[in-house]
Symmetry: C2
Subunit: 206 residues, 2 copies
DNA sequence: ACTTTTGTTAACCATTTGGTTAAACCATGA
DNA sequence: TCATGGTTTAACCAAATGGTTAACAAAAGT
């Protein structure tokens, strides 16, 4: 019975992920999730006592998956510039795979900062470096030029994430101008982000 | 009676703006809006037949206010570089005034592209230039270097808007690192955006 | 004054929705 | 085989919520 148990639970989680990603905590209906999973609504409450617990599971899963993927930052065998370049690639790659992730996180964080804070604290405890601490260190040792790490982090995350967050807007704008979004555009976007990173982190002459 | 009428209506609209901005179309409760406006729930339906119509009003208002403010792009007496710099300033200024606007638009656009498309078409009809057409023109005349206008637009909007969209995330990150967000940081952010624009639109040697 | 129109409210209604219950199902071990 | 305990379901419930109604209040028109 363990097998079937495990299976149903993961089916529910994956279904919940789909629905929650799309509709958010309040937009999602338990019935939708049950339908998606092909089960009865009451079974959801059997496995996860209530909506919030189910959501917590999905939310926490998303967060830890993200931090896991982004942990390239901790690999001390790679120069900082390289690490940040890879970081941006993985970030974009992650969002290509889960395009709704950013907007999902933002939506839910903005309506429940407390939960987010707790979850992040829990996950980050194991991690040696954040992008911020890495940059501070790099500035100290002179490996990268002096700059405000917070501003750089915000700029970088903006360049990577916003195209996905605001995809509906950009699609509308492009559509309006008869422009097609293509793999080539996608590559160009990544290239422009790399260009930005190099511009900021390389020591270029005034 | 015209006076009182006008007054109540605008009170309702402003209240609805507040609530909708905060909770979104589905998160907002008619009762909340009524409370905020200090009136009976039925009165909402008297002025705006139903939730969607009320929302449309708020949504349309937000959009047209935005486009109005951003129309600096059409002032042909100013060099393109200057126009884009001002554009970014106004964009950030607008979002400082209405921090929830971006996330609000994204949320609602992503769940109702059609409405957005219609509204934008209506507003844009009067406008001569978009940022895109301006850039294309500048590239043709050689006023600015050759670059992909769409990528530039996405980069620029990302740098300006995402800090507001993802404010909860960045706050959490900063809080986590004991960093305070200040006016100085705000200025630095704007400066880094200008730096980006100059980097892209000035003819710099290889 | 009084009638009509506009503005406002309390009470109510139908539907949706998260959650519960009691019974049925089914694999397993005694 | 049948008792046991985890799994699943249909039916149900209470609260929330968008929307309606009918009656009342207040101006405006006559």
């Amino acid at each position: 019975m363990k097998l079937k148990d495990q299976n149903t639970e993961s089916i529910i989680l994956e279904s919940a992920r789909l629905i929650f990603m799309d509709k958010g905590l309040y937009g999602a209906r338990m019935q939708d999730i049950a339908n998606q999973a092909g089960i009865n609504k009451a079974l959801l409450h059997y496995y996860f006592r209530n909506k919030e617990r189910l959501f917590d599971e999905v939310f926490g899963g998303a967060l830890s998956k993200y931090f896991q993927k982004m942990d390239i930052i901790s690999d001390e065998s790679i120069p900082i510039l390289e690490r940040v370049l890879t970081y941006s690639e993985r970030f974009v790659g992650f969002l290509s795979e889960y395009p709704q992730m950013s907007i999902f996180l933002i939506k839910e964080i903005s309506s429940n900062q407390a939960l987010f804070h707790i979850k992040v604290q829990g996950i980050k405890k194991n991690k040696k470096y954040s992008l911020l601490s890495l940059m501070s260190q790099g500035i100290e040792t002179g490996e990268i030029p002096t700059l405000d790490p917070v501003i750089f982090l915000i700029n970088l995350h903006s360049l990577c994430a916003y195209p996905f967050v605001a995809a509906p807007i950009f699609n509308a704008i492009c559509q309006n101008s008869g422009i097609q979004w293509s793999d080539e555009k996608h590559q160009k976007l990544l290239y422009s982000i790399h260009e930005f990173i190099r511009f900021k982190l390389s020591k270029h002459p005034l």
